[in-house]
């Protein structure tokens, strides 16, 4: 790649080799850019204010995790309590199951939703263009556009013990009518597989593009060498989409702890709470239902820090193993 050229400077005539290059200080560079392009700086004021107000000030408000927050005193004047909120959290008997539920659900989700789009994309890539390919692509992509509320509603209707299709199917194979949503053991499966149902087609699009970018000559060469279809998939396609897959995996793990509050909260009921209570839903209930702002913020902060550490760890590992990461 070419080094980036700073077009903010006027073009100068070529210098003789050996002539000293005058270095401008950062400050004067900034001043020149500001004078020549003040309109660009004008444009970013409002969006930047947005990021400061809605992203960075909330980060600062996390101090109340270390305070006994009182709405009257505000976040800055509330009394410090050190790590008391965290001690309380770690000693809370709920904490263990909360952490376990969140981690298992998140890992399960990443594990299940990583390989399936790749398989789908490889399958689609092998078959020739035509109505079948278009239909499969169109249909598998569509659920991505359906809202979480609707997906959960559909799940509830499909699993309903009286009229639901799934319980009817279970009845056919001899299992009695059962309300799967009331079984804590089924919560994770329901959560994860409805998620795969919703997003596999969407994620496959990214892999399809990566597959399209593979040099056809590689496939030709492999064919001449006598490689069968499966061997070509294994030795040409998979290595070809590896960089994309690594990025997707990092993003998946990075979002792991930010796992959908929306869906878990909707799928929750008093019967499956033993496995469906995860950190985000707990934060919501503690903070906004029980109005314990300090505790809820402490839990949320704990979650964000774990999430950041996970992301950095996976990125580091991926860089080591494959040479691809989010940052160069």
């Amino acid at each position: 790649m070419f080094p980036e050229v700073d077009s903010g400077r006027p073009v100068r005539p070529a210098r003789h080799p050996g002539m000293p290059v005058p270095r401008r200080s950062r400050w004067s560079q900034a001043q020149r850019a500001w004078r020549a392009h003040w309109q660009l700086y004008l444009l970013v004021i409002v969006p930047l204010a947005y990021f400061v107000i809605f992203k960075y000030i909330p980060m600062a408000f996390n101090v109340i995790a270390f305070k006994d927050y009182s709405p009257v005193l505000g976040p800055w004047d509330s009394p410090w309590v050190g790590l008391r909120n965290f001690e309380q959290l770690f000693n809370n008997p709920v904490f263990g199951s909360l952490l376990k539920n969140t981690f298992i659900l998140a890992f399960y989700l990443v594990l299940a939703s990583f390989p399936i789009p790749i398989l789908l994309a490889i399958g689609l890539n092998e078959i020739s263009n035509g109505w079948f390919k278009r239909t499969v692509q169109m249909v598998t992509y569509a659920p991505y556009f359906i809202s979480t509320v609707v997906v959960v509603s559909m799940t509830i209707l499909l699993l309903s013990p009286q009229v639901g299709l799934v319980s009817k199917g279970l009845g056919q194979v001899g299992a009695g009518p059962m309300n799967l949503l009331a079984e804590p053991d089924f919560f994770r499966h329901i959560y994860v597989w409805t998620d795969v149902w919703q997003t596999a087609g969407y994620s496959a699009v990214i892999y399809l593009a990566a597959l399209a970018g593979i040099d056809p000559a590689l496939h030709e060469a492999a064919k001449i060498d006598g490689a069968g279809r499966l061997q070509r998939i294994w030795n040409v396609d998979l290595p070809g989409i590896m960089p994309t897959a690594v990025i997707m995996l990092i993003l998946g793990v990075g979002n792991m702890m930010a796992i959908g509050f929306e869906k878990a909260y909707l799928l929750q009921n008093n019967l499956n709470l033993a496995q469906s209570e995860i950190i985000p839903t707990y934060v919501y209930k503690t903070g906004l239902v029980n109005a314990d702002f300090s505790m809820a913020t402490a839990v949320g902060l704990f979650n964000s820090v774990i999430n950041l550490c996970l992301l950095l760890a996976v990125n580091f590992a991926a860089k080591r193993v494959t040479g691809n990461g989010l940052w160069r």
Binding site: L48, L288, T297
Partner: protein, 297 residues
């Protein structure tokens, strides 16, 4: 001119058949739940409640749709969601372009700092309660602004827009415009935006669909039922299951109960329809948008 096609070896044709069968299974798995919902929504309440519907309407009836469309909460939710979708998209697209355009210009000194600030918010979020406190302090609680402003800019969308501007507007255009004496804002208005219609379509779509489908902000920030978007109304009817039956007579109340059940199927169809109708026409652009963002962060 005759060309001889080399026949693929047997195992390759076999593997192709297996792939096709597996794709057909995937197709069925994705499609059948949707077919079941649509079929049920067009069936008579009695048939649905007896569990007689699978993939084709039984005793075709539009009762469910009549009930859904005469429900005032649903209509108000629809109206509110339209407002949120239109206003939210306008705000979001403007703000996204306003920050992505300078970030795409090499002459914008400090763009790496700004980009880092943005990306960091993807890695580490302030969290639910602190954000709630900010919204509260700004007096936005229980107003329409609470759904329009706090989630207005997506960093991912900024990256998509910035990449698009940087890759599809050649530097020569900027130079030519500068020689003609155009200011940066003028260049944005007269050169960049007219060349970026596909991008604007993608951004508008992403934000519209987000506004149409999300319920979380409304759950957290809104108390007044008059402001509820459709998704909250759906949640109350579909998931919390709160149909109101005013009937005293047993047969009438049972009929209403059945109607309330079948109403849910119709609601699912009605609420997803706008998005699913436009989807086939815009899927292409959407795919492009996903790709642009994936090219380079």
């Amino acid at each position: 001119m005759s060309t001889t096609r080399i026949r693929e070896p047997f195992r390759d044709r076999l593997s192709l058949i297996v792939i096709r069968i597996m794709l057909a299974v995937v197709l069925a798995l994705v499609l059948l739940p949707l077919v079941y919902i649509v079929a049920s929504s067009f069936s008579s309440p009695a048939a649905v409640n007896a569990g007689r519907v699978s993939f084709w309407p039984v005793e075709f009836s539009l009762d469910a749709y009549r009930a859904a469309l005469s429900n005032s909460e649903v209509l108000r939710g629809y109206y509110n969601s339209l407002i949120y979708a239109v206003a939210g998209t306008a705000i979001s697209v403007s703000l996204t372009v306003a920050i992505a355009y300078p970030l795409s210009r090499k002459s914008f000194y400090g763009r790496n700092v700004v980009m880092t600030l943005l990306i960091f918010t993807m890695l580490f979020s302030g969290g639910l309660i602190p954000t709630y406190m900010v919204v509260h302090d700004l007096g936005m609680l229980n107003t329409r602004w609470a759904l329009l402003i706090p989630g207005a800019i997506g960093v991912w969308q900024v990256i998509i827009a910035r990449t698009f501007f940087a890759n599809s507007i050649p530097d020569e255009l900027y130079e030519a415009a500068a020689l003609d004496g155009a200011s940066d804002l003028r260049v944005l208005r007269s050169v960049v935006l007219p060349l970026s219609k596909p991008l604007l379509a993608v951004l508008a779509l992403m934000y519209t669909i987000y506004q149409w489908n999300t319920y979380f902000d409304a759950l957290v920030y809104l108390k007044d039922p008059d402001l509820f978007p459709l998704q909250i109304v759906l949640r109350n009817i579909l998931i919390l299951n709160t149909p109101r039956t005013g009937a005293i007579d047993l047969a009438e109340s049972m009929r209403q109960q059945q109607l309330a059940n079948v109403l849910r199927y119709a609601l699912i169809v009605i609420s997803s329809l706008p998005v699913l109708i436009i989807y086939p026409f815009v899927a292409r652009y959407f795919t492009k948008g996903v790709m642009v963002g994936a090219v380079k962060g």
